[in-house]
């Protein structure tokens, strides 16, 4: 009844090709932006920002980046933790070695460094496919783990091997309170989502999707695989690198190489799969689900009033997490984005059943 396209006629090609052609969709997005930028800062408390919103937003950015590579281009990559590490360490090095640079520029430069690494480690994808590529990207993960722990130049020769940074300061405006950090991350996420959405609707996105579906056929019709695959690695690692820089500077504040280990890679891959491969919204939904789940599982014994040791809680957390992943994959293999899509389709007909 409310969610109808009837009566919305487009009078120009530009209007027809809009990202949100249905007027109700635009209102929906506007409401979310209003909630995100204006309502949440007014109502939320510091814990909620630190523990929920900021990690979810940064992880959503990383998940969108990985979705571009895995969901839209079909190259399985288990090295996302490494890209985040490269982004974080590169941003740190730019920031301390060239102090005149604006920290936001340093984040972008961190992303660009991740891009360079991504392109180099994407070269095997031209020869290797499927699970072999997934395991090959693990090489990158372990190599970066080793590089950032052993080569002291990256950590500026700190004796402990871990890095601590000051809150981000841009032109005298210091991002130290949770609200400011939250708004910074949200702005970055919105800008990058717009970029991602437009990329996948354009020529590059179609080249990616063709490579994903059948790369030999794509090559035959003229999509150069080197161009498609390496650009996917490049853009995806840029997104993930910027997310890594944000994660380190805004969320963590101080970190060591182990903060970007293989568990982070698996988390981001979970977010992409659970959220839905090949969907921008899916990245965000998956990030929310995977980030909130451990928090929820941690609180569950307390809410149910059961007393158990923390070790037992963490074991149970593992079990429930694993079980939920399997359950989710069995029930809706196309992820949360598909559930959202089905909801929208039902909304179109509401209140009629068919």
């Amino acid at each position: 009844m409310f969610y109808r396209e009837a009566g919305q006629f487009k009078t120009s090609y530009k209007a027809d090709q809009a990202v949100f052609p249905i007027f109700q969709d635009r209102i929906f997005v506007a409401i979310w932006l209003f909630l995100g930028f204006i309502v949440v800062p007014m109502l939320a408390n510091e814990y909620v920002f630190r523990a929920i919103f900021i990690p979810v937003i940064i992880m959503a950015l990383a998940a969108i980046g990985l979705n571009l590579l895995v969901g839209y281009c079909g190259q399985v990559s288990l090295g996302s933790g490494a890209f985040m590490a490269v982004g974080a360490y590169a941003a740190y090095n730019f920031m301390i070695r060239i102090p005149e640079l604006n920290p936001l520029i340093c984040f972008l430069l961190g992303g660009l460094s991740a891009t360079v690494v991504g392109v180099i480690f994407g070269i095997p994808s031209l020869r290797i496919k499927g699970f072999y590529l997934a395991v090959a990207t693990l090489a990158l993960q372990f190599f970066t783990d080793w590089t950032f722990s052993r080569i002291d130049w990256f950590t500026n020769y700190t004796p402990s091997g871990s890095i601590a940074v000051q809150p981000v300061e841009v032109w005298g405006f210091v991002f130290d309170s949770p609200i400011r950090k939250y708004l910074l991350c949200l702005t970055v996420l919105v800008i990058f989502t717009v970029i991602a959405k437009n990329l996948v609707r354009g020529r590059i996105g179609r080249a990616w999707m063709a490579t994903r579906d059948m790369d030999v056929a794509a090559e035959i019709i003229g999509i150069r695989p080197i161009y498609a695959k390496l650009s996917a690695f490049a853009v995806s690692s840029f997104f993930i690198g910027v997310a890594g820089a944000l994660w380190a500077f805004v969320h963590l504040g101080s970190w060591e190489p182990l903060a970007f280990d293989i568990n982070l890679s698996f988390s981001i891959l979970f977010m992409v799969i659970i959220g839905g491969l090949g969907s921008i919204v899916g990245g965000m939904l998956g990030a929310t689900f995977i980030t909130l789940l451990p928090l929820f599982l941690n609180q569950l014994p307390i809410w149910l009033g059961i007393n158990m040791s923390t070790a037992m809680v963490s074991h149970l957390e593992y079990m429930i997490f694993g079980g939920l992943i399997i359950f989710f994959l069995a029930v809706e293999p196309l992820g949360l984005a598909r559930i959202w899509q089905i909801t929208k389709e039902k909304l179109r007909l509401w209140p009629f059943p068919h």
Binding site: Y132, W146, Y318
Partner: protein, 303 residues
């Protein structure tokens, strides 16, 4: 020269241990097309069950045999549960969803094993001789130092590979497994019950995991990091090919030798600790020339 041979031998024997874990992966991938990331967790679970049962039953009349039987029974039940709860609901999904599901199984098994049996480090002692001996004293001056455990592990692994080879080639079930590995639909159409076959495959992989777990456990002690052994076995897999038992063995030997040799001869120049990623880089190098591993099935794309 003697030192080189020593490093080479210890590397080859470490490689045999990696092959043991990789064998489990290969068995499951061959028969059900699933890249079972939970193999490491299965190694840990089997070893943990075995060592704790040994402890509980140590005063009974045949502790090792009894614990072995009960552990094997538990691995069978685990295989049945996995087939029923994970493989059947996800029967036609793309490989990456199944891979993610096995990741979920890995998390679940980690938590479950530690809930059941606790998370301390347990020493595993079933009589594998420890210590080192000198061999080849006549060829090299002073002989070459090898660890007795590694020798025993090599012999056990060799026996296991031979047993598996006989099982696959000579028995009816082995033939059925090979048929399913070739083509699921064709095997089903001639009457091979896929579900039973998958239970059998996962059980055999579980038994291989048990052997690997016992050997690694007596070397390192049974603890949580045993599940990380799987990550060390992955380069073996990609070097040897996902579908080949021979590839797992030879890949393991190459990776083991390469790792140790690189650590000794290249390590000091770049700060040490390179054995974590050298194996992957070595496997990656091989993959560039042969993208499906040395003995893997060549993937033919029909457009």
């Amino acid at each position: 020269m003697g030192f080189f041979v020593e490093v080479l031998l210890s590397g080859l024997m470490a490689g045999v241990l990696y092959s043991l874990v990789a064998l489990g992966f290969v068995l499951i991938f061959k028969a059900s097309g699933v890249f079972n990331f939970a193999q490491g967790a299965m190694v840990l679970f089997a070893a943990l069950t075995f060592v704790r049962l040994l402890d509980i039953l140590k005063d009974s009349f045949a502790p090792i045999t009894l614990s072995l039987i009960i552990t094997i029974a538990m691995m069978v039940m685990l295989a049945m549960a996995i087939e029923r709860l994970v493989l059947r609901p996800l029967v036609n999904q793309p490989g990456i969803s199944l891979f993610m599901a096995t990741l979920g199984i890995a998390y679940f098994l980690d938590g479950f094993g530690q809930t059941l049996w606790g998370s301390d480090i347990y020493t595993l002692d079933i009589g594998i001789p420890k210590g080192s001996i000198f061999i080849l004293e006549s060829v090299f001056d002073g002989g070459v130092l090898v660890a007795k455990e590694d020798l025993v592990a090599t012999v056990i692994a060799g026996l296991l590979v031979v047993t598996l080879a006989i099982f696959f080639q000579k028995t009816r079930i082995g033939r059925a497994l090979r048929a399913v590995a070739d083509d699921h639909q064709a095997a089903q159409s001639i009457g091979i019950p896929l579900n039973y076959i998958w239970v059998i495959v996962w059980t055999v992989a579980g038994l291989v995991a048990l052997v690997a777990g016992v050997i690694w456990g007596s070397k390192l002690g049974v603890q949580f990091s045993l599940s990380l052994i799987a990550l060390k076995a992955l380069p073996v897999l990609i070097l040897g090919g996902f579908e080949s038992v021979l590839g797992a063995v030879i890949g393991g030997l190459i990776i083991g030798a390469g790792e140790k040799l690189s650590e000794i001869y290249i390590g000091p120049y770049v700060g040490g600790g390179i054995e974590y990623w050298f194996a992957y880089m070595l496997a990656l190098g091989f993959l560039m020339f042969r993208p499906q591993g040395l003995f893997g099935e060549v993937h033919i794309d029909r457009v």
